[in-house]
């Protein structure tokens, strides 16, 4: 198989071929590294590339598999991770100047689990500094470009991860989400992005954005691939205070596309401002669910009108607490927009933060009631396609506090409340950019979200579309 064909394989197929020894891990890693090298000048999706280390690990993986010691679906698979995860002996920057030369001695929980599963980490992806942003332009290492149109943003903060998967640089990438940092770039880059219920994947050894909202999530080309990538990294870890006890995860083997009778909730009140093409694509997606036997239920949850502001205030205050020392000692080394954001957070008082948490509690209770009537909430992931880089931060969603809260409320409530969410591609806009739909489930109903996404992807082919790079 020629290298370009290997890069076109999705995780499900590549995993099978490596296990059957029809493609070697060395071939897969070499092909992926070559593609990365060809495209990185256009995308700027990576901060660190681990060519030699990855090839050595791939050789070892091939030897193990040849001996009959296959560790599972990720064994020998080239993957990428956001540069938020500590990686022993490897530069770990958080896209910051402050840590531009930092090499940790230990692995984050995610890296430990990926290594145990035999995955080959080929590079660490670019992002907004320490995850503070929604564009992936706020990086000490320069902006990430969208593979569908390099004049546009990839979205953030996990933009490098989404861009890599969209550009066929690896089948799988791991990122983090505090506000919408997995779902938004997934939508902008036309890939499938999933973040599980708060506490399902350990955050030990990753940089904190806002501790009560931070999640680890992942990007792939389909929900089947997401489930394969989720199983090895989910599960309890006592080192993360938010980690939840869970039996051996088996999301992939339990995937079930039969969603007949499932109830899909729609919050149209919050769609004001959604672009026409995005709205049409979403309505078409709802028809797919209706065709699969789902009941579509219009909902009104007025409490969600306060979700964006509550989420933003929470992250702002928590981020200030996390970065306080660096802010005091090295504020000039932060990306200026990030430094200003931390400064604003520093001025939020304890009593104000607690008032915000009280509001968050009220929104959570409202959602608890909603999930007694429905199984998933569906909405456009973002109100429009990826903005042009020349627009700066405007319209990217970062202006949540100043702009219309409508769509931002839908984008932000899942991470604020810790609900599982998946963004899937649902169409291509007239300007040739991908559009996305998010499916948000009840707490710990991760499987229901994945099943709904699978049902959609089994009936459509938008997730197979690729940018013409």
């Amino acid at each position: 198989m020629v290298p370009d064909d290997i890069c076109e394989l999705n995780l499900t197929d590549l995993s099978w071929l490596i296990a059957a020894r029809e493609v070697s891990s060395v071939e897969a890693v070499s092909a992926t590294l070559t593609r990365l090298e060809q495209l990185e000048g256009k995308l700027n999706a990576f901060i660190t590339v681990l060519s030699e280390q990855a090839l050595a690990q791939a050789k070892k993986a091939d030897e193990e598999i040849a001996r009959g010691n296959n560790r599972g679906p990720l064994h020998g698979i080239p993957v990428t991770i956001k540069d938020m995860f500590e990686t022993a002996g490897v530069l770990t920057t958080g896209a910051s100047k402050i840590l531009k030369d930092w090499v940790p001695e230990t692995d984050s929980a995610l890296v430990e689990r990926l290594r145990a599963a035999g995955a080959i980490i080929i590079g660490k992806t670019n992002l907004d500094e320490f995850g503070h942003g929604g564009t992936s332009t706020l990086s000490h290492f320069g902006p990430v470009h969208n593979p569908w149109d390099i004049e546009r943003i990839a979205g953030g903060s996990s933009g490098g991860s989404a861009a890599a998967v969209a550009a066929r640089i690896g089948t799988l990438s791991y990122g983090t989400e505090t506000g919408s940092s997995v779902r938004r770039p997934a939508s902008y880059c036309g890939v499938t992005g999933f973040k599980p219920t708060f506490g399902v994947i350990s955050r030990h050894g990753s940089f904190r954005g806002a501790w009560s909202q931070d999640h680890v999530g992942l990007f792939a080309r389909s929900v089947k691939d997401i489930a394969l990538g989720l199983d090895p990294v989910a599960g309890f870890d006592a080192r993360d205070p938010a980690s939840v006890p869970q039996k051996t995860p088996a999301y992939a083997s339990r995937l079930n596309a039969n969603v007949k009778g499932r109830r899909v909730g729609v919050l149209r009140k919050f769609f004001e401002g959604v672009n026409g093409a995005v709205g049409q694509a979403f309505d078409a997606a709802l028809e797919v669910f209706a065709g699969a036997g789902c009941e579509i239920i219009d909902l009104d949850v007025p409490e969600l009108s306060y979700a964006a502001m509550t989420s933003m205030m929470t992250s702002s205050a928590e981020s200030a607490g996390i970065n306080r020392r660096w802010f005091r000692e090295r504020h000039q080394d932060f990306v200026p927009h990030v430094a200003r954001g931390i400064a604003v957070g520093m001025t939020i008082t304890a009593s104000e933060y607690l008032t915000v948490q009280r509001a968050r509690h009220r929104i959570r209770e409202a959602l608890r009631g909603v999930y007694e009537k429905i199984d998933v909430i569906a909405s456009p992931t973002t109100a429009r396609v990826a903005p042009l880089l020349s627009e700066g931060l405007k319209g990217s969603g970062d202006d949540t506090r100043h702009a219309s809260y409508n769509q931002s409320n839908l984008l932000r409530f899942p991470s604020m409340l810790g609900l599982p969410g998946c963004s899937v591609p649902i169409g291509i806009s007239p300007e040739g950019m991908p559009m996305g739909m998010q499916l948000i489930g009840n707490w710990f109903a991760d499987q229901a979200v994945l099943d709904a996404a699978l049902a959609y992807q089994n009936a459509t082919d938008w997730h197979t579309r690729r940018p013409a790079l």
């Binding site: 006890p245 200003r340 604003v344 520093m346 008032t355 915000v356 509001a359 509690h361 009220r362 506090r401």
Partner: protein, 62 residues
């Protein structure tokens, strides 16, 4: 308290870190936005129980 005093109190929380006049203007604008937001959220959350999270390890619970 005058509005300018209120903002000065807020800026004192920056622990001596100084910004350019342009940056300061943008920070002050956001502080004013936050004050409006907190007032809105205070009204919205009125009557909602305060969250009380205990810190003991889960395995200590009976």
């Amino acid at each position: 308290m005058k509005d300018t005093d209120k903002i000065a109190h807020r800026l004192a929380l920056l622990e001596g870190v100084s910004f350019s006049p342009e940056d300061l203007e943008s920070i002050v604008k956001e502080i004013e936005d936050n004050e409006r937001i907190v007032a809105e959220l205070e009204e919205f959350s009125h009557g909602t129980p305060w969250i009380s999270l205990q810190a003991q390890p889960q395995d200590e619970k009976v």
